[in-house]
Amino acid sequence: MTIVTRSRMAGAVLFMLGLLVASRPAAGQVLEPVRPGLDAVPAPRLEDLEPAVADQLRDALAAFTATAARTGLSRPALAQAYGELARVFHAYEFFDAAEPAYANAVRLASAAGPWLHLWGYLLQQTGRLEAAADRLYAAVRARPDDRAAIVRLGDVYVGLGRLRDAREQFEQVSSTFPAAASNGLGEVALREGHYREAIEHFEAALGRMPQATAVHYSLAMAYRGLGRLDEARAHLERRGPGVVIVADPLVDDLRTLVRGERLLVIHGRRAYEAGQFQEAAALLRRAVEAAPDSVPARLTLGLSLAQLGDGDGALVHLRAAFARAPGDGAVGGALIGALVRFERADEAIAVLGQVRTAVPDDEQTLLGLVLLLAHRARYREAVALLEDGYRRFPERVLTATTLARLLSSSPDPQVRDGRRALELATAVYAVSTTGADAETVALALAEAGRCGEALDWIRRAVAQSRTAGDGAETARLTAEVPRYEARDCRAPAP
């Protein structure tokens, strides 16, 4: 016993050590402080990044190093260099690199530049609200006309529960950003339990920015606070992802730093998700021109073109994406979906066959292929595939059910086999007893010519479906009963 345990432990340790040794990466570059009192800046590991991004960061690091090496460099100039470096890191969300660079910029020239604002935004993004409040407060003190920083500060105060401070901020921006001010004041009132006031503010925010559908949630909570549950439910129905948008040039400018294909893909995806398919396609065409091998660009462009009804164009890009990433389930799924939609079922079968080669054990892939084969009236192939799947995984209920149903009711009478279908259907029913499972038994019995029993089973299917409370399924099964009452109860074949 002891030997077994030790051996098992040793195996586990070796297994883990092997993984660690195999995957231990080297540490990244660290920019040591240029002057006393500044922080080191840990640069991202460039070898992990796409070439375009790595090149941009390499250039930024080189530019910073060159600037910092200049003799007699002023504090504001060095602050600018740290700040610009921070912005590039921040644009790509390398927060741990950006933060000390912002900190150094602020230490060198606290009142100059946008660094406090951006540092506060970074802290807000990463959820460190106390620190975010400090930096944003300082940013507002340094640049009182920075109204976007005031809104951010208000939002951070709300998150911290500092409601009086939050109210003060939002009241200051009621003319510059009226929707944001109303929304912020609504959130404050909601937290204070002043539900009527909250409703007024939220309604005002929605009046100015109806696309800010997320406000409906807060409005619902305010109505709920008043006990007006019907109105609360109505607003919950209307809630969505849209938020109150505030123009914040400093933050918006970060996006312009992101280069090349990635930027276009990011913006293209956003446009696609917003349903703006023309714009998405235009952006993603540029991304594909910049990076013809980009799978995300090809995939999203293909999907956009499919949405625009351009089947040929969509398939060009989806095929290209699939050729580059045959193991990516999303790419394969998108290509198959487009092929089916644009009535190229045979090619879809071929693609699904390729996917299945990569994942021979995946039940959904198998069933998808079977459905496509059935769609093309290739029933024999479908049955053969299902028999193979069932032989290897007899516990898979869906595989067994699909096979039983095909053997019972295939439009091709040559592949029907009532006895085999009944064997399968009975095995399924032993572990799964839904109305549909009872119907599978009924179908098999009918194909085997045992119509009396089949009628009993279809009635049982109706009863089970009714007990399960599934109205649509009950109606469907009930409509099937007359066929089982007929002399020849087998499923009709064309």
């Binding site: 995957s23 990244g28 796409e50 959820g127 997320a214 549950l229 898979r396």
Partner: protein, 556 residues
């Protein structure tokens, strides 16, 4: 009264000043378990999701044993590779008089089954007085029936509980009050390793995927048919057409109607609050109106773990949900009647920067007020650790919060709670009184790292009352019953629970911290659907067994 307050204050200061609140005793107690996530550089989502385990008294000897769920290698079918180490069962040998010691009894238990495991739920499904075990997997789950002789039988096939989807947490709950434990299984996403997506950070580095790129799946509800089988009633209950990327679950009667409801923590999708429609066998999701589906700003969060407890001492169950590091965790204060309001900032829990998983309310210092533990570990690479060359840059420290008499929580992770400070990737958290000394110890289940046993050393000099609340007919733990400690300054409430946290079953016994009060106590037990029953004359500093209609008796 003033003297009592001073004494209590001094006691707390003394307890904290004298030494650590918790001590890592893993090596000393003989538990040697390291979770293997099977990472090979492909950055597959399951690698960062497991694992948990169970704290349960499998041999009915009066002490809590530990079951640790193992991962393994991710293979083509999603099952564990044959060479991967199995899950392990550690028997607590406290009753042998050698202090807190564990013995690995995996081999003889029948629980040493390979497979890419995720979590566990514990409950006596056949009412034979022996706690059974349900283990969730990336692949078909397994139900192990406790034979009562130190071994378990795999009854998955005969019980019809082998949900083939990727499940993480589960809970046993008698939702229809028929006296038999049913089973709720939380499912996550449809995942096939060979079809896994490649995902990138905004800076184009490879990283683990957001689960949003995978299709969500619905949860399952299995009704106990009283004959060793379960029926999948998910469709009838209204769950089958409600997919979500579920990770955590807890049962609690949140609307006070005497029927146990279910809260499901979803990762990136709105959480669900399945209100039990009073014996109809149906549930309806009221999470949105209840105010627990989203955070205060109306956004769904990456929710993982959950616990329920009367944190503010007003007699109803509040909820605490753990989320991603940039979101922060969420505290939902119950307003009564099944409605909640997020008050995370107001109660001092708006600490961010940690991705929370397992979590439990507990009264670690036995002062009578609930405190809070949260174990953490990122799911996306932490750039500072990646930059430093860490091969698994997801490590974060854990957190402990002291409950300030139901008003606020104060984080005290620091020198006094150094056991929570090491940077690790933690997932499951099991709470239980491992050494039967009347305080809550903790077992932290790591991801691609070691399991740690943290002994509670914070309660010296404080009195306590331990209860094992049993169901009358079956003599099994009366899961989801509520227990009210009747006292002059206002009642304290606890729940008999083995669920919550993350993928981990906990010790179902209830412990009330009494502070300096050494007088015999009175409790009232509220079992779902039964009239409250009062038990008096319970002397502190020991465990009592409470059976309906019988006099309380000292527990073993």
């Amino acid at each position: 009264m003033a003297i009592a307050v001073l004494l209590a204050a001094g006691l707390r200061g003394g307890a904290q000043g004298a030494g650590p609140l918790f001590t890592d005793v893993t090596d000393a107690v003989g538990i040697d378990f390291t979770h293997v996530n099977g990472a090979t550089g492909r950055l597959l989502l399951p690698e960062v999701i497991g694992a948990g385990g169970a704290l349960f008294d499998y041999d009915n000897d009066g002490d809590v044993d530990v079951f640790a769920v193992q991962g393994g290698a991710l293979t083509a079918s999603g099952a564990g590779a044959p060479a991967a180490p199995p899950s392990r069962l550690f028997r607590n040998d406290l009753n042998l008089g050698r202090g807190l010691r564990f013995t690995d009894v995996t081999a003889q238990s029948g629980l040493g089954v390979a497979g890419y495991g995720m979590g566990a739920a514990a409950g006596d499904v056949d009412n034979d007085g022996w706690v059974d075990l349900y283990v969730t997997y990336l692949g078909s789950n397994r139900l192990f029936r406790n034979r009562g002789d130190g071994t378990f039988a795999d009854v998955t096939a005969s019980s019809r509980t082998g949900d083939p989807r990727w499940s993480v947490s589960a809970t046993f709950v008698d939702y229809d009050r028929d006296g038999w434990l049913d089973l709720y299984v939380v499912n996550y996403v449809r995942f096939v390793p060979e079809l896994a997506r490649a995902c990138y950070t905004a800076g184009s580095a490879r990283d683990y995927c957001n689960p949003a790129v995978y299709e969500p799946v619905a949860d399952s509800l299995f009704h106990n048919e009283h004959d060793g089988t379960f029926a999948d009633v998910s469709a009838r209950a209204g769950l089958a057409r409600a997919p979500g990327r579920g990770l955590g679950v807890i049962g609690a009667d949140v609307d006070g109607d005497g029927w146990t409801d279910l809260f499901v923590a979803n990762d990136g999708d709105p959480n669900r609050l399945w209100l039990n429609e009073r014996g109809t066998g149906r549930f309806r999701d009221e999470a949105l109106l209840a105010g627990v589906a989203l955070n205060r700003m109306g956004q769904a969060q990456g929710s993982m773990g959950v616990d329920a407890g009367d944190a503010d001492g007003d007699g109803d169950e509040d909820l605490f949900v753990t989320n991603l590091d940039n979101e922060g965790n969420t505290f939902y204060a119950s307003l009564g009647r099944g409605l909640f309001e997020e008050r995370t900032a107001e109660v001092g829990l708006a600490t961010r920067g940690y991705t929370g998983f397992g979590t439990r309310f507990l009264d670690y210092d036995n002062d009578g007020w609930l405190d809070l533990l949260v174990v953490n570990g990122a799911v996306r690479h932490l750039s500072r650790q990646a930059q430093a060359g860490d091969p698994y840059p997801l490590k974060q420290r854990n957190q402990i919060f002291h409950g300030e008499r139901g008003r606020r929580f104060t984080e005290i992770t620091g020198p006094a709670a150094a056991a929570f400070a090491p940077l690790r990737v933690s997932r499951g958290l099991g709470i239980g009184d491992l050494d039967n000394d009347g305080d809550a110890d903790a077992v932290v289940f790591g991801n691609n790292g070691p399991l740690r046993v943290l002994r509670n050393d914070a309660t010296a000099g404080r009195h306590w009352l331990g209860l094992r609340v049993l169901d009358g007919r079956a003599r099994r733990d009366a899961l989801h019953a509520r227990v009210e400690l009747v006292r002059r300054g206002g009642a304290a409430w606890r729940r008999v629970q083995a669920d919550g946290s993350y993928a981990t079953a906990g010790d179902p016994r209830v412990v009330f911290g009494l502070g300096t009060d050494a007088e015999p106590q009175t409790v009232r037990v509220h079992r779902p659907g039964a009239a409250p029953e009062t038990f008096s004359g319970l002397r502190p500093d020991r465990y009592w067994e409470l059976v309906p209609g019988e006099a309380p008796r000292p527990a073993r």
